[in-house]
Amino acid sequence: MNARSGGDADVASSPPPDGDGAGADVACDSDMMSEAVGPGALAGIVGGAAFGAAMIDLGSLETIASLARSESVVVGFVIHFVIAIAIGVGFGLLVRFQRPGVGETLFWGMAYGAVWWFVGAVTLLPLLSGEPLAWSVDAARSLVPSLIGHLVYGAFTALGFVVFDRRSRHRVVSAHPTIGSVSRGAIAGLFGGITLALILDAQPGRPTVSSAMTTTDRPLTGAVTVLVGVVAGIGFALLHPNAIAGSGPALVRGMVYGFLAWIVLAVTVVPLASGDGLTWTVDDLRDGFATLPGYLLFIGAVPALVYQWLTSLTRAVASDRHAGGDQEGVGTQGLRAIFGGAAAGIVGGTVFSIVIVRTGDLPGIASMVAVDSPTVGLVLHLVTSVSIGVGYGVFFVKRSNDVSSALGWGISYGVFWWLMGSLTLLPVLAGGSPQWNVEASSEAFPSLVGHLAYGAFLGMVFYRLEARYDPWWVSRNAAEERRARRAADQLAGSAPALWVLTVLFAVVIPILLAPA
């Protein structure tokens, strides 16, 4: 059986270096105008149109018009488009060296939009309007609809850039969705949707996938949740037909995708379909917060992980192609990952324990085994830290090639476990239900700080340990370099954007949505 004859053609075909981006040819400086400025400007128009439509609904174009000392909506719309185009050009310049493809560029767009919320809406716009910086929480809360708008602008700008990006047409190896990949996405989404439906059903007040849904019919809300899962799963498969390189990156990417799905489905599409208009205000988002962790975990992260595993399994069964040139074998690589992850987990857990001791949460951890001893709590915490560290080692083996990427993956992994651990499993193991509400997430903010510290140290220590015995990113010649690049070019993909979005929604959103 040759490489293309068995099972899924997409699985058997040549996998790209990372994700769906493929081995790409990228822009040169001389092509800046044609490959960055032009497509960026056009993409800015697309993003500006989407954001502009939302601004009409939100009635915020007058604020933009104030830049020209006007209150005219038309003037505001024109200024908005000029700004959108200019920022779109900036996007083109910034991502012209990144790997093309919708699965990568989309997240860059969102991260770019989020940064521009800080730069534009929160900083420059008030200054140009002669007002003080909007850096206080109250001022920032009033600009939450703008934050969502900037994320939408970024997403649409990214999609537009992909359409107008000349590099995308010149990709040497392309990856297209197939029936197989879409089916795996649907299965993964189905799994996530069913899990989320069961959890939401057990929650107090039985929240639905969107606060705009008013029905309380259990079968209907459950079916809608499952449907959302399947749709999101298919969407993920369409973005990443070849799956992501590695379980860990898939987990993080899925989490960010879950955030995108929450914005698109929970606070935009469903409310619009319900005739409620956009629900982007702070109060609206607080109402919908009950489903945000669910989206992040069970519409995003877990289905992405399942999708990754299904794709790997299919590839292993159906493809004769050798996976790559740098496989050490499960025994060697696995044992190293386990030992390294455990060691890194101990370090990270020790740092985390400083936070826990200060906040006095050790008895709460001990309650998982029905005791309230701080010592037992500390032991349980360290054991858990080691276990999660082992998970990091297994999921993120050969994913960090410098301290920066180690921090990125480690912190993102820490955020995942804040959601999965502090807000979900810990309350369940203590005899309750997942604490997916703004009050609980606010109370768990110290735990988030601890998880960030844990993740940072976990990532850095594991990177150092990995560097000691296998600095896989140091290559001796071109052939080895090509093999190493499969993982090393994550910076050319959207991994850094994922890290940014992860920390932003983990830190900024709880602060903005905290009870006043």
Binding site: P17, R99, V115, V122, S405, F445, P446, S475, W499
Partner: protein, 614 residues
């Protein structure tokens, strides 16, 4: 040539960018409260501004230090900067600032909310610093970088590399290591570790074996308690970032700075630094018959051949009807009472007794094991008390020792001692001496005892430029005015020193003298018994045996081999030793002509435990 670590420029570039963006951020203080914008809001407004600028530069420097090694990654660097900014917010405004104020940490949401403005300041500063760093070309001054698709390099449909070739790294310093024993591998591994910090050194290892032989366990292979492949780690796995040339070095031209290796491209390997780690070969000390009729214990082949020979002798003894002949077949003599000889005779004893149940016609009282040693006591490297303990243990197990006696000659059927005694035997194992590999004479440098290369305290070969020597083939002065013993322990540490000194020379620093005192010695005596002397403390019995196995297991290269040896040892605890002959050809007697290398002088590099253990 590259060859030097250059972190300074990118740290400076990062500090510059951090300062610039910090200054821009400080401008915003005109429009708002200073403490809302300052990255370190402590003290009076003027102090806050000063601290803000200092912290901004420091964050930039840290960013420059840890920034991704990728060119043309504006977006990635901006993102990384933003994450650094977030971390600073947690470390600074949420942790150190309140601690300085005496308020404790501010990790709760209620406490963090009022300093939300500093989060925005930190995020903006971090991301702007990253973008600035990308724009001013910070990553381009990195000593090496991972070429990614973002560098304009891609893969075409044939799997070939395509894209631009600009920004090629500087030509690295070429270090060639001749010899794949403990010393040579230690040099390569250390240089690999240094390369992580951007040392820009290209390492080539030349060895005619593609594996590192863990000689301390060689006796266990001969004793059939460990599989032969399990004590040898592939050099390509032990030194994954080193270029490896499997071939025999035939000549060294120090004028042209090259090593001739037939198997290498163009038959030679050029170097900027040469590391001579050729090890040693057995020394028959001109004793008649040793070269032709004795087994040595330097290679895997030696160990396997000896194992097969012992089992073959048992097979023949089982059907031998002549008593004298049978006793001759069942007599095993080891010449040399150092580490290797003592461990070998104990392992042979274990093997023969373990296999005895399969040979019903072999009387147990006809098994004879003799250890011949020229000095008054065995194991001269350890204290007399422990050596006596070891001697007692050997005697208790029925092993004879002949001390203060030299071997006068070996014939196909006997061994003659200088006292005139003759021992009828078909098996003599020679562990009584080693000598440096003869290829060292090609260096044309000063040679010391038995032809060893004379080095100074920094391991540089006397009289030669950028040529280093270590291990069994070198005569290295120790810190007490004596000479370093040729042990694997010393060879490994010497390798680390050589690598550090090569880097020091490349960076214009003075090389450091080698200094190391032995950690201790371990000798296995078979039958779950050993003696050990660790940092002056003495151990014996099963505890020492456990230490022997644990320590050597940790020293065994590669995780895979460790796992395999653990399995071997576990099986050895539960089952008798394997007596399968791994060759169909009849085992040679002492009277047969042994297999020998054509070119004895160019025997492969083997850093040996030899007489000295590891």
């Amino acid at each position: 040539m590259g060859g030097t670590e250059r972190r300074g420029p990118q740290i400076a570039a990062g500090a510059f960018c951090g300062s610039v963006t910090g200054g821009l951020l400080a401008v915003l203080m005109v429009f708002d409260d200073v403490s809302s914008v300052s990255l370190l809001p402590v003290g009076t407004p003027s102090v806050q501004i000063a601290l803000h600028l200092v912290v901004a530069a420091a964050i930039g420097a840290v960013f420059g230090w840890i920034s991704p090694r990728t060119d043309r990654a504006h977006a990635a660097l901006t993102s990384s900067g933003l994450i650094i900014g977030l971390l600073w917010w947690v470390i600074g405004p949420l942790t150190f600032v309140p601690i300085i104020r005496g308020d404790g940490t501010m990790w709760s949401l209620v406490q963090a909310t009022p300093v939300f403005s500093t989060l925005i300041a930190s995020l903006l500063h971090g991301s702007a610093t990253g973008l600035c760093f990308a724009v001013v070309g910070g990553p381009r001054i990195l000593p090496w970088s991972v070429p990614t698709a973002s560098r304009g390099v891609g893969i075409d449909e044939n799997g070939d590399q395509v894209g631009d070739d600009e920004a090629q790294p500087a030509e690295p310093t070429r270090v060639v290591i001749v010899g794949g024993g403990f010393g040579g591998v230690a040099v390569a591994q250390r240089l690999e570790a240094l390369a992580l910090d951007g040392s820009g050194i290209d390492v080539t290892l030349v060895s005619d074996r593609n594996f590192l032989l863990f000689t301390p366990m060689l006796a266990e292979v001969a004793g059939s308690s460990v599989e032969q492949q399990h004590i040898s780690a592939p050099l390509r796995a032990a030194c994954p970032r080193t270029r490896f040339v499997r071939g025999r070095a035939t000549d060294i031209d120090v004028e042209a700075r090259l090593v001739r290796v037939a198997e290498a491209p163009r038959g030679e390997v050029c170097y900027d630094h040469l590391v001579v780690a050729l090890g040693s070969v057995p020394d028959d000390r001109d004793v008649p018959g040793v070269a032709d009729h004795c087994f040595s214990l330097k290679t895997l082949d030696d160990a396997t051949r000896l194992r097969n020979h012992v089992i073959s002798m048992m097979e023949r003894a089982d059907v031998e009807t002549d008593g004298a002949e049978r006793r001759s077949l069942l007599t095993f003599v080891v010449a040399g009472g150092g580490f290797a000889g003592t461990e070998m005779v104990a392992e042979l004893c274990d093997l023969a007794h373990s296999a005895l149940r399969h040979y019903p016609s072999v009387p147990i009282d006809e098994l004879r094991f003799v250890l011949v040693h020229s000095r008054d006591r065995i194991l001269p490297e350890i204290g007399a008390e422990l050596a006596d303990y070891a001697l007692d243990k050997l005697h208790a197990r029925g092993i004879e020792t002949v001390l203060g006696t030299h071997v006068d000659g070996v014939t196909p059927t006997s061994l003659t001692l200088d006292a005139g005694t003759e021992i009828a035997t078909r098996t003599v194992v020679w562990t009584a001496g080693n000598q440096p590999n003869a290829l060292v004479t090609a260096l044309g440098c000063e040679l010391g005892d038995r032809g060893a290369v004379v080095t100074d305290a920094t391991l540089a070969v006397t009289g030669l430029d950028r040529v280093w020597a270590l291990g069994d083939c070198a005569q290295v002065p120790d810190s007490e005015g004596g000479r370093c013993p040729p042990t694997a322990q010393h060879a490994t540490r010497q390798g680390t020193t050589v690598a550090d000194n090569i880097l020091a020379v490349e960076q214009g620093r003075d090389p450091s003298p080698f200094s190391f005192s032995s950690l201790g010695t371990l000798v296995a005596l078979g039958h779950r018994t050993a003696v050990a002397e660790i940092r002056g403390r003495r151990f014996s019995g099963i505890l020492a045996w456990f230490m022997w196995r644990t320590i050597y297991l940790f020293k065994l290269p590669t995780l895979e081999k460790k796992a395999r040896v653990v399995v071997d040892w576990t099986v050895d605890l539960l089952f008798p030793r394997d007596i399968v002959l791994t060759t169909d050809s009849p085992q040679r007697d002492l009277g047969d002509e042994p297999e020998r290398d054509d070119d004895h002088t160019a025997r492969p590099a083997t850093t040996t435990a030899g007489e000295n253990g590891a």
